[in-house]
């Protein structure tokens, strides 16, 4: 029993947010008479929040290095505008426009990364300038007007679903197959990890705890997949987000680059004296964030089915809030990809739930602000206590 108590105490941060997510979901289930967990709404939840989750993945890397990026909302707008001009006005093929847009995102990252990493201007200033610069350029590109509509193939980026290979019309079978494969992989990974831990004589959790955790996780995943399968199956957006989570979690945890990012944020001077090229690290993290913001911009434009000058307004704040709710530290060196995703989901579930029960935009903003404050306040309190 003691080990379990310790387990929870040591992982308050990680588990705290997951528990909060469950509680918030439960609260809205109760308030909305169960509408929020209906198949259609779950699909909507993913479609509505996909691009925020993508932004959060890029943002958490920036924040781990001890920086911030205020410009991503404007980057979302300008990428939408570029895609709109290319596809709608100039009839460029969709695939080419997507590639050009992602390269444009990378160049924006190069521009901001240069000023921040090599010139040494604080990221707050550079990206505040970027926020204005890219919003201005968006207005210029679109001439103040919205561009619409996009062709179907472009809209698929955010409204598509994976095809049902076993198409029977009713339940989306492919979705269920994928979900079962994922479950098996999870079981394998968990037991593999356990084996290694025993091999290296680490304290392992009691077997039943592992089992309970696995069973709960598999139930949630399969129930969720079943609900999606009742509707139209897995949205393309979910696949994009899922791939990003896996890839970036791996990079941050298991690669040299990831270690260098954490080390740079944790203690820049020590990292420099350890032979880490911290300027280069910060530069590339901004380039990466530019590309991910561009991806989010494409998803956003596809979802709206138009390129508008006001697109992505204040989105940077949602992304930043998700990262901090997910346990990252303003000072840098702390934060995880998965934490930021959970943070983003907390925000997403609240947005969605509050809309369902018709809470006005005024109170929505107020409540979101309070949640951010309390979540980070809880972190700070825990840290001071520990």
């Amino acid at each position: 029993m003691q080990t379990i108590v310790n387990l929870f105490r040591n992982n308050m941060r990680e588990y705290g947010m997951v528990i909060a997510l469950i509680l918030i979901t439960g609260l809205f289930f109760f308030l909305s008479d169960g509408v929020n967990l209906k198949p259609l709404n779950l699909t909507n939840l993913i479609l509505q929040n996909g691009f925020i989750l993508v932004l959060a993945v890029g943002m958490v890397l920036v924040i781990i290095t001890g920086n911030i990026d205020l410009s991503v909302g404007s980057v979302v707008a300008i990428i939408g505008a570029i895609a709109g001009v290319l596809i709608i006005n100039m009839n460029v093929p969709v695939w080419a426009a997507v590639v050009i847009a992602l390269v444009a995102g990378a160049l924006i990252g190069v521009w901001q990364g240069f000023w921040i990493a090599y010139v040494g201007i604080p990221s707050f200033i550079v990206t505040l300038a970027g926020m204005l610069i890219f919003r201005g350029l968006t207005l210029y590109l679109l001439d103040g007007q919205s561009l619409a509509p996009f062709p179907d193939s472009f809209q698929k980026i955010s409204s598509g679903f994976i095809p049902d290979l076993f198409g029977s019309g009713g339940l989306h079978i492919t979705t269920m197959v994928l979900s079962i494969i994922l479950s098996v992989v999870l079981v394998y990974l968990e037991f593999n990890k356990r084996k290694t831990q025993i091999q290296y004589q680490f304290t392992v959790m009691p077997l039943w705890v592992t089992l309970v955790k696995l069973v709960a996780l598999i139930l949630v995943i399969n129930w969720f997949a079943y609900q999606l399968a009742l509707n139209k199956g897995i949205p393309t957006v979910l696949i994009i987000v899922f791939v990003l989570i896996i890839a970036y979690t791996f990079i941050m945890k298991n690669t040299v680059m990831g270690r260098h990012i954490y080390a740079t944020g944790g203690n820049k001077k020590a990292a420099d004296l350890s032979g880490i090229k911290t300027k280069r690290v910060v530069f590339w993290v901004f380039v990466n964030n530019g590309v991910l913001a561009a991806l989010a911009g494409l998803m956003f434009a596809a979802r709206l089915n138009s390129a508008t000058p006001a697109a992505g307004n204040m989105l940077e704040l949602d992304a930043i809030a998700a990262v901090f709710i997910g346990g990252a530290s303003m000072a840098g060196g702390v934060g995880t990809v998965i934490g930021s995703i959970v943070g983003g989901l907390v925000m997403g579930v609240m947005n969605n739930g509050m809309s369902l029960i018709s809470i006005g935009i005024d109170w929505q903003q107020f409540i979101k602000g309070m949640v951010l404050l309390i979540a980070v306040g809880f972190d700070v309190y825990n840290k001071n206590k520990g």
Partner: protein
């Protein structure tokens, strides 16, 4: 009125685990320059902090009499009100403000809430005249040199009607001319009736200007010499400072010294901001395989600057000179090049420059050489655990697991983690800067044992330390540094505290041939 302006009686100050001051007595006569000397860590600064109220009344034992009155200062402000002003080694001036604003900082000339600029400037002018500074009081402090800044600090003290002026290493950062001017000013102020306490490592200055000298050692008053009648020789002062027995605080070792492994030739470094100030002046040293070489020197002698300038040019600019390893010239222009070349540098400040305090032990240990445990840039975490575990056991890092966050470890254990981190880079040349600063005796012994073992394995080890006994106890050979120059080189059996201290204070004489 007593003839003493200040009497500190039986001052004892304890920090957790350490007795920094043990029954210290200090008596300063009215209108004299009283020098306070002692090795680094002897308790000089602590004593001055007790006097000025940085350590408030109640946090120490003993009593302070100023002009015959018992004083119980709660903070610096209270001591300043009575005319006790301390000028620290790191000047406390605000660089962007003007000289006049700095002089009256916290003590502004004002009516109501409004600053009286006329009065501020005219009074500043008078004060600047008294200290012999001709610059306009409107000049920003960052635009004048360190020597002049020091004078501004004194002018600031004068503005507070100082009666007892305390100067902590005032000439450490000054060149010879500025130092001379400052000492002359002290003599002038003495004529005006201002007493001063001078803390200095430069014994030639001490012996030149002081009327009495109090020697501190290991937190105790050793003696007070009255030198107003007869000057105390530097020899005499040194004897008082170091007269301590070296017990067996160092593990035994049979050095097995080979050929020259690492060589530094004609090394020159300039200050990163003041590009005309030479910090390292034509240094030539070599270290042999299996040899432990010490660098002794006082604070500000340029030892850390020397080490960091070699390690990927992490300090200074206009660096010139060559590094050789096994007779081959090596490049170490960046830290990664230096690591690649087999050079490792363990910083004197483990918290700022050595560790990521919010990460765990294993990540800290492997950070400088992730290449060793990764394939195609993917880190093999199992191998990482094995390696980190191995070093933890070898260096006896006392912690339940290598997953422990480094910030939670004790100083000694943190130091072992930093050492492990650099052992993990498999260096040939290991530079250790203050390897045992702020750690307890037991951990010190363990670290000494490790250093010996590394030398045994054939590494060339360079140890920089401000603790003379440490340099003497560890090194096979000692270079002594003073003001950026090597002023002496001594073999283990010819080195003793007296002759090393003589070279350290620049009183060596013979080795001053290159002192143009």
């Amino acid at each position: 009125m007593s003839k003493f302006i200040l009497e500190m009686q039986n001052i004892t100050k304890e920090f957790p685990g350490v007795k920094a001051l043990d029954n210290v007595n200090l008596q300063v006569k009215r209108g004299e320059i009283h020098a306070l000397v002692g090795e680094n860590g002897a308790g000089k600064s602590t004593l001055m902090k007790v006097l000025s109220g940085v350590y408030p009344h109640g946090s120490y034992e003993g009593s302070i009499l100023f002009e015959g009155q018992e004083c119980q200062f709660k903070n610096i402000k209270e001591s300043e009100e009575l005319g006790i002003v301390i000028i620290h080694q790191e000047l406390a001036l605000s660089p962007y403000l003007s000289i006049a604003e700095n002089i009256f900082l916290g003590n502004e000339r004002h009516s109501g809430k409004v600053i009286k600029w006329q009065e501020t400037f005219s009074e500043s002018k008078k004060l600047l005249e008294r200290v012999g500074l001709k610059d306009s009081p409107e000049t920003a402090v960052m635009n004048i040199g360190v020597g002049k800044q020091q004078l501004v600090e004194i002018a600031k003290a004068l503005s507070k009607n100082v009666k007892l002026l305390i100067l902590d290493e005032p000439t450490a950062a000054l060149n010879e001319t500025d130092s001379e001017n400052l000492l002359k000013l002290l003599l002038d102020l003495k004529k005006q009736g201002i007493s001063s306490i001078l803390i200095s490592h430069k014994l030639n200055e001490v012996s030149a200007v002081s009327d009495s000298i109090t020697v501190l050692r290991d937190g105790q008053t050793i003696e007070t010499m009255d030198t107003s009648v007869e000057r105390a020789s530097e020899e005499r002062i040194i004897k008082g400072m170091v007269g301590r027995e070296l017990t067996s605080r160092f593990p035994d070792r049979n050095p097995n010294i080979g050929d020259v492994l690492f060589e530094v030739k004609n090394w020159n470094v300039y200050h990163p901001q003041h590009s005309d100030r030479k910090v390292i002046d034509n240094v030539n040293i070599h270290i042999k395989r299996g040899e432990i070489v010490g660098i002794a020197g006082l604070m500000g002698a340029g030892r850390t600057e020397f080490a960091m300038s070699m390690f990927g040019k992490t300090y200074g600019n206009k660096i010139s000179g060559e590094l050789y390893k096994n007779g081959q010239q090596v490049q170490a222009n960046t830290v990664s090049q230096a690591i690649e070349a087999g050079i490792a540098y363990v910083s004197e400040d483990r918290k700022t420059y050595g560790l990521n305090l919010i990460d765990d032990i294993k990540h800290n240990i492997t950070l400088s050489n992730l290449k060793r445990i990764s394939k195609n840039t993917v880190v093999n975490e199992n191998q990482e655990i094995v390696e980190a575990q191995g070093l933890r056991e070898k260096l006896n890092i006392k912690t339940p697991s290598i997953q422990q966050v480094v910030g939670n470890l004790s100083g000694g254990n943190q130091q072992k983690v930093v050492l492990s981190k650099w052992i993990f880079t498999e260096p040939d040349v290991l530079i250790l800067d203050e390897p045992t600063r702020g750690i307890d005796v037991g951990a010190k012994f363990e670290i000494y044992t490790q250093i010996n073992e590394l030398a045994e394995q054939g590494l060339a080890v360079l140890v920089i330390s401000s603790e003379l006994p440490e340099v003497l106890g560890l090194s096979d050979r000692i270079y002594v540094m003073n003001e950026g120059r090597i002023t002496g080189e001594l073999m283990r059996d010819e080195a003793n505290q007296e002759n090393v201290m003589r070279y350290m204070t620049g009183a060596g004489g013979t080795s001053h041939a290159d002192n143009r």
